[in-house]
Symmetry: D3
Subunit: 153 residues, 6 copies
């Protein structure tokens, strides 16, 4: 397979937040995803004046940068947001369904550039684990076994 | 309000530090702020050979990049510093003063792009909490209440 | 299966370390394992005076407490070690071997109290991945598939 | 007010987990809460052989220790669980309701030993923020202001 | 040297805090040290409902337990504090003074059980580094070199 | 000394990994170093849906970007890799050897822009500490003392 290509239209938005409770941080994350953020995560950091704090990171489409920066200012206490452009390599993905003794499970198939990876959908496995009152790993194992038999690559 | 604008004259300087005591890390942070760093923080990271370490991040004006890079080399054990340009969105800020039953407290007013945020100055609240032998939150609450009455936005 | 039982002869030794490089921390971990520590790990913590630091945790047999406390004092900069008794629940474990298209792989079988868990030995998988120039997950998958066929529980 | 008292019937259960995906960790947390855990949290730790891992901590009533230990073995990959007894100081709590321009909000009142603390219920604030399309802090501020006027302590 | 001995009159107090800003956390730490805490530190933790939070750990003399627990309730938002007894091994310490080309520096001498460790006092080194406009390590190096010549153990 | 210069031919590759065990993360790090990564490290992060996870960071020469991105896709579960260009300031380095009462030790000399830093090679010190059954710090101290005498700068 040839060279991998990137999209170049994403930006990272970052803000250090030292003045906000955990509940509000969690709410901000939710709001950012609802408004189109590609990814949102927090990192524990050590700020000046002995302050244990978190860095908020938001990966966004270039076209959403203004909207999401405004939302960060609106929903967090930060007064400054850093931003830099970011290219992204991504694998293509589609889904197949496998049958297991516990029910059907959706499998995410990630592919491209000569790589194939299969991952059972967590939500399906969790739902069947609860239904059958079994540990999650029993369902995962069944999903993986069914995938091996289906794909035989 | 129209589109938000960024300044484009800042850089991030980053170095992984695996060979330095915490006392020296804290001292480096102080020295970097004294020399004009816009922000300085540490992040816990996991390096090769089982080394628990910290990443130093320094946000700097472009014009201070050389001076601060030199300072990082001088005051830390690192032999390599990564750097990339960073734009910044910032809110404007000014201060007002409110009167509370415990004394005057300065309130930071952050504004711009249709957003207004008010935060009691921590140092004022801490000073009054000590003076009146009260929990900090009593002073914060009073500061917030006085702000609500002053601003009524 | 009846109630699970614990051994009661272990202690946790903990020390906050703010004055030592990462290389030395990694070396201390190695030395502690060599001297009989049951487990050793580090946790990032925030200490006074803005110091980013690590907590060292050492799980030890009661009979090794004195020896390992002495070793912590000898190999780290700490001047104080906290200690408290700790009971432990542990699963029994033995090993089986499975055949895969890539070679034999040892499987850890953890069991007890009606639970059975199987885990391919990482070292075996890594060795075969390198030998066959394949991603690690291909070997893991083969090991799991072979385990499913062997165990059929 | 006299001396504070503790309950002595709680235990801490801890396990280092280096062999499990984040999705499964999150699922384990949910399952533990569903089965009566008083608190569940994860801490990032640095384990041997360069492994970035997490420590699972579960606070439990003494009477639930066996059940929750079994659940940890069932739903995680760990083969060992540390446990030690833990006393707890807790504040009493009840709820009041305040009216704001945006709707009613439940306020948690924590009290005992001469201390009174009031906290707006996060879920109520989040719901009203969404309903009125306002930043969360506007609702919090209104809830705090209404509490000040209600309590006047 | 014979067996090391512990004092058995210390307790650990721990609280998970998910509802408080970094500034207040830093203030709580200061207040706890002022009221006799032997050690205070924060650990980043992952709580339920996606909340990035911190654990507060306070090591205290048994006789200060009630006072410090009350202070934690007063100065933080937590509604529950876990506590367990903790023994401590500690090294004895005294100080010597060494002369360097840059001025006198106090050296902490930790000893006991056949171990001797010498550490330049950070505050002295920092003060001389600033006075002589030199990197901190130059002063540390001079302090260590002077210690080698003084102690010759 | 004049202005410091950077090389501009490095890139940072980053991926959030929430679906992989610690063993595999450690293996990925090894594989990345073997394939020319300039640096590799992990950072603990808080992802959506309550997932405690790690960010993988890989610093690479521009010419290795494609190869290492492919390796990240092959050896981790991630489906997306962020990338941005990064300049680097680096100090030059060479080595000298010093004689100590315990044997020869290699000293790394980092220099450039008027800065000189000397660091005993960890591997040498660790080897001699084991050979002479001494704490590591005794060997480090001897190495530093020998360096002071050799360099006298
Ligand atoms: Ni079924
Ligand atoms: Ni497909
Ligand atoms: Ni007053
Ligand atoms: Ni104003
Ligand atoms: Ni083969
Ligand atoms: Ni077996
Ligand atoms: Ni309304
Ligand atoms: Ni009440
Ligand atoms: Ni002088
Ligand atoms: Ni002495
Ligand atoms: Ni020798
Ligand atoms: Ni040289």
């Amino acid at each position: 397979s040839g060279p991998m290509t990137t999209d170049s239209e994403t930006v990272m938005l970052e803000a250090n937040i030292d003045d906000q409770s955990s509940e509000c941080l969690a709410y901000s994350m939710t709001r950012l995803f609802e408004n189109g953020a590609l990814d949102v995560f927090f990192t524990p950091i050590y700020m000046k004046k002995n302050r244990p704090a978190f860095k908020l990171s938001v990966l966004a489409k270039k076209e959403d940068e203004q909207k999401l920066a405004r939302l960060i200012f609106d929903e967090t206490t930060t007064l400054g947001i850093r931003t830099y452009p970011c290219a992204r390599y991504t694998m293509k993905r589609d889904f197949l369904t496998v049958e297991t003794p516990f029910g059907s499970i959706s499998i995410k198939h990630a592919f491209g550039n000569g790589i194939d990876k299969y991952t059972p959908e967590f939500e399906d496995c969790a739902r069947l684990a609860r239904k059958h009152k079994l540990p999650l790993r029993k369902i995962y194992d069944a999903a993986q076994q069914a995938t091996f038999e289906t794909v035989k690559d």
